[in-house]
């Protein structure tokens, strides 16, 4: 909106900057604990930035909000979201997905390219980006496809997407792997001229024909075709080598196995990587009843894998948490296991799962949460205005968290159109109270503010 007014008024850049900042009235957050550290302080949010920070700030002219010691963190950034629009608006739209994101504490999401049609052209990514802006609850950064139609055969016009209004800096064929080594090499090489990163869905297709579940004891007993961890690990190892040779930036999507953690440790500095909340918390033991709500790709693996992923996230071998939020319409889950679509909701449960798996056991403090849910993903995705420090002069893009609250997950009550959460009925710690995007409240006490 502010950009529009800038253009219509057409004044000097100094004046435009002031108008860009012309947003909601000043807001004084009384008594928050940035990064959960130290005594509560006040934050004065004015013109979309943190204007002042410190104890006992003067509230004159500002709306005052008593925060009672809530933890303040930079707004979360999700590198891996499926918003389903265009094509599957019966499962999720950019509007409902943005609402789920805001309620989950997110201020930016990267919308994956596997829509219908695929986001493989400048026009397609601009459409998603514009819709995100119109809705205005989170910054929606479209991910561009690496190959035309996710077909794995011909590079999509990466340059056109990078140069579009959407300014795409993350490319991925997520859902399928760019498995042809020559094509992957070319994509990595080409991306270096765009300052972009290639986010790989690491899955060797020949090793996973018909795969349904983590290859191991549970799948053997349940008679589900195995998805061996080596199918992920071998691609990650290959891609780390290709990326290093090309001097390119590789990002590994949804790391799921302990073996991949070993590869990442070996390749440290040559790639970045993400882990999903569900791989941190859940294991393949949940498959026993064949409920496809537990079907996801890559699959839930063993408790040992989860433990290795948690340790890797704490250590920084895995950079960040990304939800792989994947809404599915009821008919795509109310069926037999093999017919079901893989994927799980994640945006509104991510923080609580991270607190459950990482903060409670002492693997991460709140500064660590800010690192893995905001700072690192913003850096990987190349959004300069997100994942910033909570300090004077920085964007007022932040989330207030009640660390002591608990809540029980109910899929039907989530903002997504779909309700396929694997955490149904679980009581989880920590709750997002308020989300602010450039000084404007986008979600507050469980309600979206449009």
């Amino acid at each position: 909106m502010s950009e529009c007014s800038e253009r219509t008024i057409g004044h000097s850049s100094e004046r435009s900057e002031r108008i860009i900042g012309h947003g909601p009235p000043p807001l004084l957050l009384r008594g928050v604990r940035p990064y959960g550290e130290g005594d509560p302080i006040d934050l004065m949010l004015r013109d979309g930035v943190i204007a002042e920070a410190g104890p006992g700030l003067d509230a004159t002219g500002a709306e005052v909000r008593d925060c009672g010691g809530l933890v303040a963190l930079p707004g979360f950034v999700d590198l891996h979201t499926h918003l389903r629009e265009p094509g599957r608006e019966d499962a999720e739209t950019i509007a409902t997905g943005s609402a789920a994101a805001a309620l989950g504490g997110y201020t930016a999401v990267f919308a994956m390219a596997n829509t219908e049609p695929v986001a493989d052209t400048a026009m397609a990514v601009e459409h998603v980006w514009r819709r995100g802006q119109q809705i205005g609850l989170v910054d929606v950064a479209p991910v561009g496809a690496v190959t035309v139609g996710l077909g794995g055969e011909q590079l999509a016009e990466l340059g056109a997407m990078a140069g579009s209004a959407a300014g795409v800096r993350v490319f991925s064929d997520d859902g399928v792997c760019v498995h042809d080594p020559l094509l992957m090499r070319r994509a990595l090489e080409y991306s270096t001229s765009l300052g972009a990163v290639i986010a790989q869905h690491a899955q060797e297709p020949r090793l996973t024909v018909g795969a349904q579940a983590h290859e191991g004891e549970i799948a053997a007993r349940l008679g589900l075709a195995g998805w061996p961890a080596t199918a992920e690990e071998s691609i990650v190892a290959r891609d780390c080598m290709l990326a290093a040779a090309a001097g390119a930036r590789l990002h590994v999507c949804h790391v799921s196995s302990a073996g991949t953690v070993d590869v990442l440790r070996w390749a440290r500095g040559r790639t970045t990587a993400e882990v999903t909340p569900h791989h941190l918390l859940l294991s393949d033991e949940r498959l026993a009843g064949y409920d496809p709500v537990n079907k996801v790709n890559p699959p839930l693996r063993t408790r040992d894998d989860s433990a290795a992923l948690r340790a890797a996230l704490a250590e920084g071998v895995i950079d960040c948490v990304a939800t792989d939020h994947a809404p599915h319409a009821p008919q795509d889950k109310d069926c037999e296991w093999e017919a079901a679509s893989p994927g799980m909701l994640g945006l509104q449960t991510a923080l609580s799962v991270v607190v459950e798996t990482m903060v409670r056991p002492g693997l991460l403090d709140w500064r660590g949460v800010a690192r893995v849910m905001s700072e690192r993903p913003a850096a990987v995705g190349g959004i300069a205005t997100q994942g910033r420090p909570l300090a004077t002069g920085e964007p007022a893009t932040l989330v207030l968290v009640d660390p002591d609250a608990t809540w029980t997950v109910r899929g039907a009550q989530l903002a997504s159109l779909a309700s396929n959460t694997p955490f149904e009925g679980m009581t989880l710690p920590a709750r997002v109270v308020t989300t602010l995007l450039r000084g404007r409240v986008t979600a507050d006490d469980g309600k979206v503010r449009r």
């Binding site: 290859e215 004891e217 053997a220 349940l222 008679g223 589900l224 037999e336």
Partner: protein, 307 residues
């Protein structure tokens, strides 16, 4: 017992009770001119098969009819399933028509579990993908008990494509629960990655295993596996894992040979062995009818008796 979804769900007492009921039904029908019991009169049993089958379907149908149930056969190819109806909608449709029991065969593992959540009818799993085929394991247990007296402590060798076999999974669960010692012999490519968690020993040497076996169960090698790169050739498979006449001679005198059928003679079992006195394959088939009668009885009739 509300459904029979997997052999792993059974406890030893229930399994033994099913075997005993089958024995009693067998005796009750033996030598009768009219082989029909009134037990399930007025009950509707639907067989819903999404895969082709001769013996299992016929066996269930005969079992139901010998107990006077109304048996309706639905095939995926000739029903609204071929028009794209979901399994859930098919379940709801059959329930609405008043089916008391649905016997389901489906290519997807867990299909019977899912079906049991969608319908108030009793569900019997007649084979779900690579998962289980519990009535096959029960009829195998009945056959083994008949010939070996008991399963407790008996050494049973299962040979062949364990990875893709629902028969193997059900038998491992049931026979081990009934006290048998199980040994699996297969090429490494046809043993599941997670087999180490099973209550079995495994190996690749059939010749060494046979003298130690009270029974050997040959698994079917499905045609589609032969070209899947799991082993180099049918000839090599037959050489290493086929039950030839010479190899069968290594079995102890009392040992029996089972095969769930359909057999590929010359591949997993030689014709001479299949037709030899120690092969109890046709006995398996007739026990199959009695076991399925017992299962239908336990699900549909004994419920009224309050169990």
């Amino acid at each position: 017992m509300r459904h029979l979804l997997s052999a792993a769900d059974l406890d030893a007492a229930t399994a033994t009770s099913l075997l005993d009921t089958a024995d009693r039904l067998k005796e009750a029908l033996l030598g009768r001119e009219v082989r029909k019991l009134p037990t399930l009169r007025g009950r509707t049993v639907v067989t819903l098969f999404y895969e082709s089958s001769t013996r299992t379907r016929a066996s269930f149908e005969i079992a139901g009819k010998q107990m006077s149930a109304d048996v309706v056969n639905v095939s995926a190819g000739s029903s609204s399933v071929s028009k794209g109806e979901s399994l859930r909608d098919t379940a709801l449709t059959l329930s609405a028509m008043g089916a008391d029991c649905v016997i389901l065969r489906h290519p997807s593992a867990g299909a019977a579990h899912r079906m049991s959540e969608w319908t108030p009818a009793h569900v019997i799993n007649a084979g779900d993908g690579m998962h289980e085929h519990p009535t096959q394991a029960l009829l195998d247990a009945a056959t083994l008990r008949e010939h070996l007296g008991t399963l407790d402590g008996r050494r049973i060798t299962i040979v062949g494509d364990v990875l893709h076999s629902r028969v193997a999974r059900s038998n491992v669960a049931l026979l081990s629960m009934l006290g048998a010692q199980l040994h699996l012999v297969a090429p490494p490519t046809l043993l599941p990655a997670g087999v180490s968690g099973w209550p079995v020993t495994t190996g690749h040497d059939l010749d060494a295993a046979l003298p130690q076996s009270d029974a050997v169960m040959m698994l079917r090698v499905q045609a589609e596996r032969m070209h899947g790169g799991f082993f180099p050739s049918a000839r090599e498979y037959a050489t290493w894992y086929g039950l030839s006449e010479a190899r069968a001679a290594r079995l102890p005198q009392h040992a029996v040979v089972l095969h769930p059928g359909p057999m590929l003679r010359g591949m997993e079992i030689s014709a001479a062995v299949a037709d030899s006195p120690r092969a109890v394959i046709t006995g398996q088939v007739s026990n199959g009818v009695h076991i399925r009668m017992a299962v239908l009885y336990h699900l549909l009739a004994s419920q009224e008796a309050g169990t």
